[in-house]
């Protein structure tokens, strides 16, 4: 933004309208609903194991989160490694 006059406030109308449209649309059509099997299935898990290794540093980024954060996007698939055997 190149100004300090609060002109960003002009976005209030369009974003407010779009947010309301989508909120009500989903309230009626429920396109975003599905069986939440991640939290509704009976899962018994052994303790999680793993490793953490520092490999790099980031300096002076303006991002508030890591690029491509998918920690909570459980259903978003990433590269699948296929081994010969379990």
């Amino acid at each position: 933004m190149s100004d300090d006059n609060g002109l960003w406030l002009l976005a209030l109308g369009p974003t407010g309208a779009a947010a309301l449209y989508w909120a009500i649309y989903r309230y009626y059509r429920n396109t975003d609903k599905s069986h939440a099997f991640e939290r509704e299935t009976e899962v018994v898990a052994k303790p999680v194991t793993g490793s953490d290794r520092k490999i790099d540093e980031v300096k002076g980024t303006q991002r508030t989160r890591i690029d491509g954060d998918n920690l909570r996007a459980y259903r978003q698939r990433v590269t699948r490694i296929r081994g010969d055997d379990g």
Partner: protein, 441 residues
């Protein structure tokens, strides 16, 4: 600064995406959440959203059809399912009984972590394409021969003596399920729940839908599912970031915030078992593309108390319709693996909380050590409404879980009315924005 102009009306995306935000591919929102603070909405909308859910009715028995099969005590065929329970009643001798629970009968609850390979119950075997769907049965009531089209139905009535009989073990090849979970929610209760659901969504509902709305037309349907137990290991690899410093740069008028972070290579592994994961085993029902259908509504009312399922007995089907399974274990395996990976991702989330700037998983690996598949009929009350439109329109469902009463639906929207309201609210907000800017100038 010159006087700001009122911007053009906001572009409103007309169709929700197939995948990503707003689709069933996204982890669904928690129940009862609404993305906009209702307090900021006009009264009529707020009241509709905040209206309490009235308690649904649970009235006395409605009439059900004749029974089928034979009473284990007296041999009479006049058997019916006692509504609201899992019990079968013999109308001749009043004997009551419940089919054996498959959980104990097949030992389904045990040894999940010992599962190896693929265990397939007899009813979950691959469907033999050679089997003709038209079958002839000899009526056990009067001896007449009756033809049944098993493509469309799993129960039939003898034209001569009105004895109802079921397509029990007569059909081999996996077309008959292993187990059935009887309806517990009665029709009146389902009607009441559907009415409540729609009552809370009237303001912007399609006028034709409201005019034609008649929840009494709800039908009880047994839908085919595969209930899967699994024993698996998953491994994940990716990057995580931990914040080390936050600072601002720039002049007073142009301040920007910057972050420093440490980057880690993160690896996680977890061994786990899942118990009774339900997968739609009808191709159509399993297609959750919200752009072309509303099957995600039926998916949403999962799960069921599948532990209470009883051994397949066609007696439970009288008075209801049923759909047949048309996918086999091998065709469902990719969906199972996808869900196991999602579950693994959810399981490890708690172990990476130290990465306060989040984690980007880049690789995942799944080893399925063993699975057990049971084919089951699950009870659903379905109210459907066909919305005319291009490409044959859209079939909207309102579904009630026949055991838990969980209700979900898709109500067609009167687009122009919703757009007009959104634009009106947007214009009002814009007015406030302009006033603030004007006052601050």
């Amino acid at each position: 600064m010159s006087t700001p102009h009122r911007p053009a009306p906001p572009p409103l995306p007309p169709v929700p995406p197939v995948s990503g935000p707003g689709s069933p591919q996204e982890v669904p929102p928690l129940p009862g959440t609404f993305p906009v603070d209702p307090a900021t909405l006009p009264d009529a909308i707020r009241e509709e959203i905040e209206a309490p859910d009235p308690v649904a009715l649970d009235t006395a028995a409605a009439e059900l059809k004749d029974g089928l099969n034979r009473c284990p005590k007296c041999g009479a065929t006049d058997i019916r399912h006692k509504p609201g329970s899992d019990v079968l009643v013999c109308l001749y001798c009043r004997n009551e009984w419940v089919g054996a629970r498959v959980e104990e009968e097949f030992g389904l609850g045990e040894g999940l972590d010992q599962l190896r390979g693929t265990v397939i119950a007899s009813g979950a075997r691959a469907i033999d394409a050679d089997v003709a769907s038209l079958m002839t049965f000899k009526c056990t009531g009067c001896g007449a021969e009756v033809m049944v089209n098993t493509e469309s139905t799993m129960t039939a009535r003898c034209h001569w003596c009105r004895h109802v009989f079921g397509v029990n073990e007569q059909i081999a090849n996996g077309a008959v399920p292993d187990a059935v979970l009887p309806f517990r929610i009665k029709k009146d209760d389902a009607v009441a729940r559907i009415r409540q659901f729609v009552d809370k969504r009237r303001l912007f509902a399609l006028k034709a839908f409201k005019d034609e709305f008649s929840p009494e037309n709800v039908v009880g349907v047994y839908l085919p599912y595969m209930i899967v137990d699994g024993n698996a290991s998953a491994e994940l690899a990716g990057k995580g970031e931990i914040l080390t410093r936050t600072y601002t740069r720039g002049t007073d008028k142009n301040k920007k915030t910057y972050y420093d972070a440490d980057v880690y290579q993160v690896e996680r592994a977890v061994d786990f078992t899942v118990d009774d994961l339900p997968l739609e085993s009808s191709r159509e029902r399993g297609n959750l593309d919200v752009k072309v259908n509303t099957q995600n509504i039926i998916n949403t009312i999962l799960p069921f108390d599948t532990k209470n399922a009883v051994k397949w007995n066609a007696s439970y089907l009288s008075g209801f319709t049923s759909e047949k399974r048309d996918t086999d274990v091998e065709q469902l395996r990719p969906r199972l693996e996808d869900q196991l990976l999602s579950i693994a991702r959810a399981q490890v989330e708690g172990s990476v909380h130290r990465y306060d700037r989040g984690v980007r998983w880049e690789q995942e690996r799944l080893d399925v050590h063993g699975t057990r598949w049971v084919s089951m009929y699950l009870p659903v009350w379905l109210y459907s409404y066909h919305q005319p439109g291009k490409n044959g329109g859209l079939l909207h469902y309102i579904a009630v879980n026949g055991r838990t009463g969980e209700t979900m639906g898709s109500v067609p929207v009167q687009q122009w009315k919703l757009l007009l309201t959104a634009l009106t609210v947007g214009t009002f907000l814009e007015g406030i924005a302009l006033w603030i800017i004007w006052a601050g100038a």
